[in-house]
Symmetry: C2
């Protein structure tokens, strides 16, 4: 309890995820034609909360918020950039990883949330490499430890300076008694295919591995002597740029500041509103569909820029998810509603899908995909309430498909608006593949995993606005109560949800959301994160005599030696 | 601490996994030609440790040890059995699952270990169905809750009595604040393909789902009214038996009592010996190869029965793993050595592989596979020490491949025996597929995941006794120190291992042992178990005000509502 109380006192300020390059404290972003350089130069005194110094390019959530912003802006604001070099502005050190004092002082939930966000950012780096023709190159110009090496692991190509002192390492296990928290083990084994026994050796050796051995073991792609460093990095960056499909002569789309107002009861954007019910432990999230037809062509959409509805609503959802996840941990259930004309949502989707070859349309789609994936790994119960006047169609239908349960009103609310058109849901082409979950399948495929006939049936009904009864019968929504039962059913699910163990809900939801195949991403969020959560929580790490708390005190950790 | 101290006092007796049907307290095993019936009729007063009553066919480790024994014996002693009906001997109740008072009173490690063993037994049931032509049929003749339903989920076909009161349920989340601990969530989603939102509803509804809805939702395969129950069960059992490839007129092989002696320092069997070093936290396990040529044919092997070396050594290893895992939790590192003639090991392997169509050869192979998988999910550091006189060839090479690291002596021990033949390792055909890990790949494939060229190179060298240098170069062993370095290297790895956080080691080893694809089995042991471990450990479940501890007291749990 001491730990929790103490730390709650520390994290009193609301974390804000909105930053911009001219205000970065920890990174420098520069571009030179097709090559951008992201230089990590962490301000030791610039920690998000007081109590630790960010020495040796170690990082906290604030540093990672800037990195996330840079990765996003490079995709939207810099269509000309084809290679992104991540390197360090400090001598002899690339990055020491997550700040240990910050971790040791943080409560369990903060650590887990921090790891989730850093994981998402690193997955985003891989996503830019795979889907945007922006390839990340780690120019590891000094020692990269722990999270520092994990950042390099998220890059497509890793260059390590070969100077007898620089090495890559994962010292978490030997020094801190925890696991690397940002996908390190999974990427070492499943991305870089380091042999398991060498990986074992590497991950128990706090000083790490450098030089030719690091190359031989596949930990890095090349080791380059310092005299040839700059020229080789430039060469490699140019080579990677040469493989890209980024457009020639396109102009970027500026990610202008979000319009956001927040008070104790609500968070409001242009298209998204969240009402916070602290007594009930719930957030009611309402998403507005577009008011107008989409632009005639993708050039028109690009001209609208950040105001283009699909981009605008995605940015708002993204910011809201991060805000609630970090700042409102006691609001355990999120209820999604939508409002608007389903046809206009589908028309906007179509514009994107008909221009998938266009860089901007592609970026918007990929961003929507990533934002929905953020929802998939969010440890909150997600409920969709599908009512008259809603627009759960195409891209917005994904919110209902991402939900743990969905309720669609059969008929109308007799007292409120008996003449309203009944609520419908509509499958669009965007639900059939372009927005895969982390497991590589669409939410529809995952929902009907092992039941291909059901999916085939649904594909036949694509484009058709489905009222509650057929939607329930087709399995597209969970329940279809009528006006008489609606309030009671919704009340029951929300009260039940609030009464259950939050931990057990997290574990159940994480299990049921990802049926079917596993990928690097689901392994990181499922297997690895679950182990990490457990280890973080154990006294051997976080107890007063645990390794994480004793690090740097000169005292060894005092372990309960029983293997579990 | 109170919990641990209190419970250590309870589990003072060493758990013994050796049982036999005539001594079962909780199960009745009967056979009638091709159909066996396993009737669960738990002795309320027959708990493994004092302090709880096993009411309503709830179970503890002792009940599951008998189930495991029965499943094993059915495969070896009953080649004529083609369908195994699992049913209950109690009126109106199939099984209430794991005993809650037992769980609430047990320390964390005990709970985790208990779940691991019950998982292995249920995987074994599926393995018998898939690979032995012994299909399991769950005749759920009353309510099946929690682990009771999970037992049914492990069966190929689930029949539920349709009597308005019987239901299947997973009440762990709503009642106990934990997850179903024996693969329930994974089997519901990935085996039975229950839609995720229905699965969510089902797993939050403590009273469960019965009748036609249970069939519609795929939770069971059929709901049968009580008047037609017996005849329908018999019909279905006969149908399933009709599909089997079990032999006609074969005689079983009796699993005779193991020769085992144990004192505080050692556990000894005919072919396996374990020396326990409590100060160092280590077990030295030595496995003896066969002394003689294998029998001329498989009939000869069957005649040897339980004395046939591959079966005998597998049974001993299996018992040892279970014994050490349960009773010696502080011995965190297991060092494997072998002793004997590699050619004789390979000759025994060949006899099995050349007779894969024979039921007995198949059973021995499948059992060896399962035992090695038990090793893969064992939370102990596994080290192989490959020295002169050893026989790490074929099936015994799997021990080195299952190890986290392997050390092979280059040359000989000059002082001990300078004229000895240097140690070799030999790949046999058994290493190339017949003993897949839980991920569906051989240990060699998993080791070289993403490096097909290395595997191709190794296949070329199959049958060749490889000394240390080529073995290291081919990546078959981790390190190949010579006489001068051997003692220091072995000492360092053992001391290091003993100094690290046991929890972090468990998480790292679980991650690195399973590169590549995921299956139902790896999902259960990786993703699901890791979540379960975490949830079990949290105060919301196991704290004094947690749901698991408060169950049955009339008081509601007091949850920390922050979502993590």
């Amino acid at each position: 309890m001491t730990e929790a109380v103490q730390t709650e006192a520390v994290h009193t300020e609301r974390v804000d995820f909105r930053v911009r390059p001219d205000r970065y404290k920890h990174w420098r972003l520069s571009t030179d034609g097709p090559v951008a350089t992201l230089t990590m130069d962490v301000d030791e005194q610039g920690g998000l909360v007081p109590g630790y110094e960010l020495k040796l390019n170690s990082y906290d959530l604030g540093v990672d918020i800037e990195l996330y912003d840079a990765v996003q802006r490079l995709r939207f604001e810099h269509p000309e950039v084809r290679t992104v070099i991540i390197t360090s502005g400090k001598p002899k050190i690339f990055s020491a990883g997550a700040n240990i004092r910050m971790l040791a002082a943080s409560p369990h939930g903060w650590k887990v949330n921090f790891c989730k966000f850093t994981n998402e950012t690193r997955n985003g780096i891989e996503d830019a490499t795979a889907h945007s023709g922006q390839t990340y190159l780690a120019a590891v110009n000094g020692t990269a430890s722990g999270g520092g090496y994990e950042l390099a692991l998220a890059c497509e190509h890793i260059m390590l300076v070969d100077d007898r002192s620089s090495a890559v390492s994962l010292p978490e296990l030997p020094l801190l008694g925890v696991l690397p928290g940002t996908g390190g083990l999974t990427r070492v084994s499943d991305k870089r295919h380091v042999r398991r026994d060498l990986a074992d050796y590497f991950s128990t050796k706090s000083e790490g591995v450098g030089g030719k051995k690091a190359v031989q073991w596949r930990l890095v792609d090349e080791a380059v002597p310092r005299p040839r460093w700059d020229e080789t990095v430039a060469e490699r960056a140019a080579e990677l740029a040469g493989r890209s499909s980024r457009p020639e002569n396109a102009s970027g789309v500026e990610l202008t500041p979000l319009t956001k107002t927040a008070d104790d009861d609500a968070i409001r954007y242009d298209h998204v509103e969240a009402r916070l019910d602290r007594d009930a432990g719930r957030v009611d999230i309402s998403v507005k569909g577009p008011h107008n037809d989409p632009p005639a062509d993708i050039a028109g959409a690009t001209a609208q820029g950040a105001a283009f509805w699909p981009l605008a609503v995605t940015r708002e959802l993204d910011d809201l998810i991060l805000d609630l996840r970090t700042n409102e941990t006691e609001l355990g259930t999120w209820v999604f509603r939508t409002e608007g004309d389903p046809a206009l949502v589908l028309a906007h989707d179509d514009l994107l899908l008909n221009n998938k070859g266009d860089w901007f349309a592609n970026e918007v789609l990929q961003y929507l995909k990533r934002t929905l994936r953020r929802l998939d790994v969010t440890s909150r119960s997600l409920i969709a309430a599908i009512e008259p006047g809603s627009c759960f169609a195409g891209s917005l239908l994904e919110l209902a498909l991402a939900a743990d349960r969905s309720y669609q009103l059969a008929g109308t609310f007799a007292e409120q608006d008996p003449d309203a058109a009944p609520a419908t849901v509509t499958i669009g082409p965007i639900n059939l593949g372009p927005l895969p979950m982390g497991n590589g399948l669409s939410r529809l495929q995952t929902r009907f995993s092992g039941d291909d006939a059901a999916v085939a049936e649904l594909i036949k009904r694509a484009g058709e606005p489905l009222p509650a009864e057929p939607a329930e019968q087709l399995g597209l929504v969970t329940f279809a109560p009528d006006d008489l039962d609606w309030d009671a059913e919704i009340r029951i699910v929300l009260e039940e949800r609030a009464s259950f163990s939050p931990d057990a809900l997290t574990g159940m939801e994480a299990s049921y959301r990802f049926a079917g195949p596993e990928t690097l991403e689901t392994k990181i969020f499922g297997r690895l994160s679950a182990w990490q959560n457990w280890i973080f929580y154990r006294p051997n790490a976080s107890g007063p005599d645990g390794a994480l708390r004793r690090f740097g005190t000169g005292q060894r950790a005092d372990f309960d030696r029983r293997r579990v």
